[in-house]
């Protein structure tokens, strides 16, 4: 059984993701790209929750939890690298 309303929501979130991806590709400086990647991570979590509800699978939402926590660690590491370089 497929719930189509969440698919329409997913199309909107994917559109926002493509707009963000344009910033990641164009971004003149490194922090601009990092902001784009951080935004993209949040949008991917929202998209995974929507797909989990649409396909009726709870496991997608579990993956969204893990993805949220791990992408946060990735952002922190990139920020630390920007700040003083990896030593």
């Amino acid at each position: 059984m497929i719930f189509s309303e969440f698919f329409y929501g997913m199309i909107g979130v994917a559109l926002a993701g493509f707009v963000t991806l344009a910033r990641v590709m164009l971004g003149p400086s490194v922090p601009d790209r990092v902001v784009g990647v951080d935004t993209l991570n949040t949008l991917i979590v929202a998209g995974m929750i929507l797909l989990g509800a649409a396909y009726d699978r709870v496991i997608y939402i579990d993956i969204a939890i893990v993805y949220a926590l791990l992408s946060y660690i990735g952002t922190l590491i990139i920020a630390k690298y920007l700040q003083e370089g990896l030593e």
């Binding site: 309303e5 969440f6 707009v19 929202a46 922190l76």
Partner: protein
């Protein structure tokens, strides 16, 4: 009736997600872009989770299948994780960008710059 409410929540969330990604192109420097990106995408995800929770509570009443209880609880846990980590990540990016030398464009005052230079001298 409940489908209309779910559609309304999803419309709000998609509107704010697209607005957040447009703000990346509308503004001109890292800090103002972070404003739009962090606030709007967090708010959009809150409404996504509201829609999913409402849908799963409704399905739980219709079908009495414990899968929908799990769906509601796990989406709430994902929302809590996101609301705790998103502002902290934004703070880390802003501080790193400032310390690595990207100054805010067209700023009327920069107290943090004054503090860093005061410590350096």
């Amino acid at each position: 009736m409940i489908e209309i409410i779910i559609y309304a929540f999803l419309a709000v969330s998609v509107t704010f997600n697209i607005l957040g990604s447009l703000s990346l192109h509308r503004f001109s420097d890292v800090y103002t872009r972070l404003h739009g990106a962090t606030k709007c995408t967090t708010f959009g995800t809150i409404f996504v989770v509201f829609a999913v929770v409402l849908h799963s509570i409704w399905q739980l009443r219709e079908t009495n299948n414990p899968k929908y209880l799990q769906m509601a609880l796990h989406s709430i846990v994902a929302l809590i994780a996101l609301m705790l980590t998103n502002p902290t990540g934004a703070h880390a990016i802003a501080k790193a960008a400032h310390l690595s030398g990207y100054k805010p464009a067209k700023a009327v005052i920069d107290a943090y710059e004054r503090k860093i230079r005061g410590e350096a001298q």
